[in-house]
Amino acid sequence: MAQVVVVTSGKGGVGKTTSTASLGAALAQSGENVVVVDFDVGLRNLDLVMGAERRVVFDLVNVVQGDAKLAQALIRDKRLENLSLLPASQTRDKDALTSEGVERIIGELRERFDWILCDSPAGIERGATLAMRHADQAVVVTNAEVSSVRDSDRIIGLLDSKTEKAEKGGRIDKHLLLTRYDAARASRGEMLKVDDVLEILSIPLLGIIPESQDVLRASNLGAPVTLASPNSAPARAYIEAARRLKGEQIQIILPAAEPRGFLGKLFGRRAVA
């Protein structure tokens, strides 16, 4: 049965869009039929991270309002034929989305795909609540930093109250994805440790994505990092996270702090961040 997963965080800039693209690509690379849906109406970026920005004709709002059919708005990835994108509108605002329209589209997507990954906008307003509304599972993207953890806690509260599943008395499966993790800073006590975040948020850990220049390079090139640099540390972390999402039991290994080199010591920071 199709799984609808919302990728959410509350706070902006923590890596929701990067994580949606990378998890979506990783699931597709493992043979699943995947669509990634951008809910950030007015400020879309998933198309850019996926490298499909030149090919957008219709968008989510066009489909919600009946101006285009779902098949006309879906953009198939040029590298993976079982990966599609449903872009958000750039010119409208989030009030253009209706609850009924979103429900209908999610229903249609469930018939076509194994996995529907919804990239939530930041915040806790209408766009974010619509993105989580019909989800079966949630990936809560968090940085090991106080404001991100606080916002994630707020989002977890919404996931337990504002989703369709929660309103029917059920429980939505929540997973913590710790992104932009800098093991060296955590070991020096400059960043919250994984255990600190897990203890505070108390939801199961899906993966730890290390801070890496491979992620920036991938978004520059317009490819999910699992496709742009499949052997890099963040790509491997996303691929394992995707396998855990599918229910596989894989042990999570804490990223080790890389030893600081001569230059890093000289300048008081790591030469390669």
Partner: protein, 94 residues
């Protein structure tokens, strides 16, 4: 990431810069109401609709925005009385 891969890889920032230039040129055009591709798409479909009954659900539109050339492909099923269905293909290069 070691020094070898650092030298072997071409820098990615110029790619990002070029992609943004193409994209923003289009985004600004849309806000200013002068998105040529969107205008062409609507007018081409309107012309076809003047002559045949057009089923919008069966219109396939493919787009590739680029610099200096964008391509717009509109694939329409044109019903014909005399012969079986023909497919017309319009390609616009502004």
């Amino acid at each position: 990431m070691n020094l070898l891969t650092l030298f072997r890889r071409r820098p990615s920032a110029p790619v990002a810069r070029e992609r943004l230039q193409v994209l923003l040129a289009h985004d600004r055009g849309v806000v200013g109401g002068s998105d040529l591709i969107a205008v062409l798409q609507e007018e081409i479909l309107a012309v076809i609709a003047k002559h045949v009954a057009l089923d919008r659900d069966k219109v396939q539109i493919k787009l590739d925005r680029g610099d200096p050339v964008s391509t717009l492909e509109i694939d329409v099923e044109v019903p014909s009385l005399a012969r079986p269905r023909e497919r017309g293909l319009a390609t616009a290069r502004p």
